[in-house]
């Protein structure tokens, strides 16, 4: 780990500092929004949103190379795809008469299929694995700016509307009677989930970002007595997993995304085991 600390100050290893910064900035919206996702039990919806992001990344990469849209950063494409997927999923959950699980599964795979199709048609070599499982070499200063702006936006929205979102998550019928737009708050939560997922996609990838969104709040919920406690604890855990996971991956030459996620999964397993042992 000492090598990792030295590397953080090495002027030639800017990518490592960028990756750490992105992880630390992203841990705030991830911990905050993840708390609501876990408390409301909509992790599977968050997973569908995350996977549909590949469609946006693929389309943006294709548009840059083929149509010359140099301004279209892949993360911007990811953001647009995530927001569209969140809106469609919210509509299906709240309004559609279709089988919700089947429609959400369809959105999940359609987004991925579109992404893979665009990537296959984009000139030059592009490895979809880098987007699916993360690659710290993909992290640029533009990602930091996007994460900073998106993270701030998420925090402001949560500060303003957290009481209404909590009430809708706990008892949407009562919230509606109190005049709260329950459906709009549910849509807002899914849009925030979409924004959050996008902030850390380049670091841990589409598949693994869901684990980082849900595992820290799940660990926090083992001890937390209030949603506020769960939220703060989730942010601290996410930041710790990113820092330690990055350190271990650098020191042991492991891929970063899987190292971070395995660390989080290990702590979750330990937390559950300890809770079971002490509750007997």
């Amino acid at each position: 780990m000492i090598d990792f600390f030295r590397a953080l100050f090495d002027p030639d290893l800017v990518f490592l500092r960028n990756a750490l910064l992105l992880g630390l900035i992203g841990s705030i919206p991830l911990g905050a929004v993840g708390t609501f996702v876990v408390a409301r039990r909509i992790s599977y919806l968050a997973a569908a949103i995350a996977h549909s992001v590949l469609g946006g990344i693929g389309a943006a990469l294709y548009a840059r190379e083929v149509w010359g849209f140099a301004w279209l950063h892949p993360m911007l494409g990811a953001l647009i795809a995530a927001l569209i997927a969140a809106s469609v999923i919210a509509w299906v959950s709240l309004r559609s008469q279709q089988r919700e699980d089947a429609v959400i599964g369809a959105i999940w795979v359609t987004g991925m299929a579109i992404g893979l199709l665009f990537i296959s048609r984009t000139p030059g070599y592009l490895d979809p694995m880098a987007y699916l499982f993360g690659d710290i070499l993909l992290v640029t200063s533009a990602d930091l700016w996007i994460a900073g702006v998106v993270g701030t936006l998420i925090l402001v929205i949560l500060l303003l509307w957290h009481r209404q979102i909590v009430a809708v998550c706990f008892d949407s019928e009562f919230a509606a009677i109190r005049g709260v737009h329950a459906d709009r708050m549910y849509l807002l939560l899914l849009l925030l989930t979409a924004l959050t997922v996008v902030t850390l996609v380049s670091l841990v990838g589409i598949v693994l970002v869901i684990a980082l969104l849900t595992l820290p709040p799940a660990i926090a919920s083992l001890r937390a007595r209030s949603l506020g406690q769960m939220l703060l604890c989730s942010i601290a855990l996410t930041a710790s997993f990113v820092f330690l996971g990055l350190g271990f991956s650098y020191t042991l030459n492991f891929p970063t995304g899987p190292t971070i996620i395995l660390l989080a999964a290990l702590v979750y397993l330990l937390g559950n085991t300890v809770k079971r042992v002490f509750s007997k």
Binding site: A39, L160, R163, V166, A167, C169, F174, I177, R178, S221
Partner: protein
């Protein structure tokens, strides 16, 4: 509109705007007619019980009052406004709340949800917190404010939900079988706490317990697709037989206390 205008309401005339006004309201789930041409008024300060058999439409009637369901025909007004506007002055206590036992909220957090409105932004104010603590104290739960909601007993949870309804500075309290899932002791405590509230509060309670109805409220709304409103004293065996569709023997203990045998209904 006065009661006398309604063919299926046998109650006294009242001055002023009714708190609840149903005018020719019908509601169906698909082709299944649940409420047929309901016409009745409920006035400020009244305590009313809604009775009827399982599937007779009691909970549907409450959801119509709250604007959670839209009638096929007719009009519902709360405090002179359409139900969806007037409902913010209503405290609603459901029969049983479906909640996630792992959702980390305390009794105080749940009570504070009663202070919520469309314009609630940011953090909870000190006055809101004080009101929620006061409402919990009124329900005998002052020392349980910080306890996780999921760790409370059925009766205590029901009391927290009533506190949540009261903290909204409710003018009309709707209780959907508040004692259906609690034991007798908890039921007594709940009813005692509710009686202490009294005052100008209008209370509508859905109940399956005819003994409770006869000793607790002066007016009943009988629902079995059709809706009839009576003074409790006029709730005869024939009327109950008509509503429930089977024999119910009633024993008169005194002028105000009517007990039923074989008439314990779960709705």
């Amino acid at each position: 509109m006065s009661d006398s205008a309604h063919s299926n309401c046998e109650c006294q005339a009242h001055a002023g705007e009714p708190v609840v006004c149903f005018e020719g309201v019908s509601f169906s789930y698909g082709h299944n007619l649940i409420i047929d041409d309901a016409d009745f008024d409920i006035y400020q300060g009244e305590s009313v019980c809604v009775i009827g058999p399982n599937g007779g439409g009691k909970s549907t009637l409450l959801k119509l009052m709250l604007g959670l369901l839209v009638p096929d025909r007719g009009e519902i007004r709360l405090f002179g406004e359409p139900a969806q506007l007037g409902r913010t002055r209503v405290g609603y206590v459901p029969q049983q709340i479906e909640f996630d036992p792992l959702f980390p909220v305390s009794a105080l957090d749940v009570a504070l949800m009663g202070r919520l409105s469309r314009g609630s932004f940011g953090f909870v104010s000190k006055s809101d917190r004080a009101m929620a603590q006061d409402a919990l104290a009124k329900m005998g739960l002052a020392d349980q404010a910080k306890a996780p909601f999921a760790s409370l007993s059925g009766g205590q949870r029901q009391a927290v939900l009533i506190a949540r309804a009261l903290v909204a500075q409710t003018e009309l309290l709707l209780l959907d079988e508040p004692t259906a899932h609690v034991d007798v002791a908890a039921e007594e405590r709940l009813m005692y706490s509710l009686k202490k509230l009294g005052g100008e509060l209008t209370v509508i309670t859905v109940s399956h317990d005819l003994a409770f109805v006869s000793r607790s409220v002066p007016k009943v709304v009988c629902v079995n697709r059709c809706v009839h409103v009576h003074p409790t004293a006029k709730l005869t065996e024939a009327r109950i037989r008509e509503i429930y569709g089977h024999e119910v023997r009633m024993v008169q203990h005194d002028h105000e206390h009517l007990d039923s045998h074989g008439g314990h209904h779960h709705g």
